[in-house]
Amino acid sequence: MIAVQDRASVVCHDSRPMVPVTATIVEIQEESSNTRTYVLQIDDPALRSAYRFEPGQFNMVYVFGVGEAAISISSDPANNEYLAHTIRHVGSVTRAIARMKVGDKLGLRGPFGHGWPISRCRGRDILMVAGGIGLAPIRPLIYAILANRGQFGRVVLMYGGRSPSDLLYQKELAAWRDDGQMDLLVSVDYSIAQWDGPVGVVTDLIKRLRIRPDRTSVMVCGPRMMNRHVTWQLLRLRVAPDQLFISLERNMRCGVGRCGHCQYGPKFVCKDGPVFSYESIREVFGKEEI
């Protein structure tokens, strides 16, 4: 059972949310040409065992002397020893992380925000839709669901990537496909010879599936356009707006709703999100610039 932690106990350094703790890189897994998964261990044993996160929450990952980036946690929430961040090297901080090796130290603050509301979805069908790096915050959710598989109805993951080599967690995707606990639909934008799956955008996959809208909870994380089209499409299929959850991303500086960078209409993505129900953001979700 996933215990939704009391908010106060979740944050390491609760009273000092701006102060990071150090963590050591224990393993680096190549995911694609510009994406790697970093397995981290918090250095302080007491903090390590006290650290808990909900699937969908994020850490502020700090490269000493360079800066911080908000990155979702992609490891199994039941694993108290290690945590993992899947990082695409696109900005100054993440490119600095690309130059790091096993044994190097990072700073961590977190976990911050509200994750996927698993407790509200028990007994329901779960549809997860991920695009590109958007699978990273969904992976802890998959672990949590598979650990309590009996509490959920049908579980489906739809995942779209640019090309077959850009797909994350390929071994695990294969394992999830094989053990039959959940349905897996993967598509790519463009293909190479070895690919025998569907080609196109991830929203096309929704057409391949007959969902039961009144008992399905949907978790969406991907690029902005994907989020939007998946949301519109599922709303048309009569999925309830309060059972459609979208994880958003923004420039963040503090993680605790102070710095103002992630203001999203009346919300702050860092502390009110990053996972929002469509219901709570419907006024601003469709706006072009917000």
Binding site: G65, V66, V93, G107, R250, N251, R258, G260
Partner: protein
């Protein structure tokens, strides 16, 4: 609240009494002309402390939220990092803070201390801060053309959140009102004498007189708050506002209620860095830019839209219990494009009212 009377020539004695209690006293000083600035009171400049000076361009916000504030120090040794949070909380008094700025600091209190993660850096500074408020009564010196605290209901006399409030009753007399126990403790000084009902009455008269001396009194917020909260401000109004914005960020840096910051690292020596937070401005293009270059709020009118939404929408008023505007008029004075708060309120109100008018009345007459 307790009130006492003091002579205006004893002002320096009051300042010295606060200094003797261990406070670093900062007060607005006047250069030649109308330039004023907050500076620490010393034995040399105490003779230049005045009750009536134009409100300085830079708000006293920096005494609780410095433009650059160190959060922590990081030292590297043998591949390990030592992280130490650093706090700075001098015992400080702001002497002569205006009512609008008192409201600004109260707004910051609500924002930084009022929710799930109280900001320790802010809290420590704030705990050591003493506010000696001066009521703006001199129409020539205290009140500028841009002041509109009568519209935001934050002035000319603050009702609360100060430690001591001074008001010039004329004839060399000042009425002092204590707003906290720290302020009341100052009444032990021999400069204070008992105040009578007559003085309170005179205070009331002067205040009702002063309210007529404000030039900007048509900054009607209530309608604008409604339009902004409902999202019924026409898009072209935001575009007009955006077209006049020069993206200098000046309005946010002089605003006593603006809270945004960015966090950055700076090296302080070999293997030593300090992490600082720096005031940031939502007017600047890079404010929301993310890694990889995508910017969800690229165009200037959308950035302006977000700023005034943040300041005026009822979602935020509910959270912080006050608008993020205190009517000090600094944004109006600093803005080259004349899109400070009073002009924006005016533009929104006019445009939205016009919009409302041309909406057809439903057939059933509801």
């Amino acid at each position: 609240m307790k009130a006492r009377l003091m002579r205006s020539e004893d002002l320096a004695m009051l300042v010295n009494a606060i200094r003797r209690r261990g406070y670093e006293v900062v007060a607005p000083f006047c250069n030649k002309g109308r330039d004023t600035y907050y500076d620490t009171v010393t034995d040399e400049n105490i003779g230049r402390v005045r009750l009536h000076v134009p409100n300085p361009y830079y708000p006293p916000k920096r005494f609780v939220l410095p433009p650059i504030e160190r959060l922590l120090r990081v030292k590297r040794a043998n591949g390990a990092y030592d992280i130490q949070a650093t706090y700075e909380a001098p015992k400080r008094a702001i002497f002569g803070i205006r009512s609008c700025d008192v409201a600004g600091i109260y707004h910051l209190d609500r924002f930084y201390l009022g929710r799930e993660f109280p900001d320790t850096y802010y809290a420590r500074r704030r705990r050591e801060l003493l506010l000696v408020n001066v009521v703006c009564t001199n129409a020539e010196l205290d009140i500028s053309d841009a002041c509109f605290c009568v519209c935001t209901d934050t002035g000319p006399a603050a009702r609360d959140h100060f430690d001591l409030q001074l008001m010039d009753l004329g004839a060399g007399e000042l009425l002092a009102v204590a707003g906290s126990s720290a302020g009341e403790a100052l009444f032990e000084e021999p400069i204070f004498t008992r105040a009578a009902q007559e003085h309170v009455e005179r205070r009331r008269q002067i205040l009702s007189e002063v309210r007529k001396r404000f030039k900007t009194t048509t900054c009607w917020f209530s309608a604008t708050v409604r339009y902004v909260s409902q999202g019924s401000v026409p898009e072209r109004t935001w575009e007009e506002i955006g077209n006049r914005c020069l993206e200098c960020g000046g309005c946010t840096y002089v605003c006593p209620a603006c809270t945004c910051f960015t966090v950055s690292d700076r090296p302080t020596g070999r293997d030593e860095i300090e992490r600082v937070r720096i005031w940031d401005s939502c007017a600047l293009g890079g404010f929301t830019r993310m890694a990889g270059g995508h910017n969800p709020r690229k165009s200037v009118h959308d950035r302006r839209n977000r700023r005034f939404f943040r300041k005026l929408a009822h979602y935020f008023i509910q959270r912080e219990l006050s608008m993020a505007c205190v009517g000090c008029g600094r944004c109006a004075a600093v803005c080259h494009g004349d899109v400070g708060m009073p002009s924006v309120v005016e533009m929104i109100r006019r445009a939205a009212a016009l919009e409302e008018k041309i909406e057809p009345v439903p057939a059933d007459g509801r």
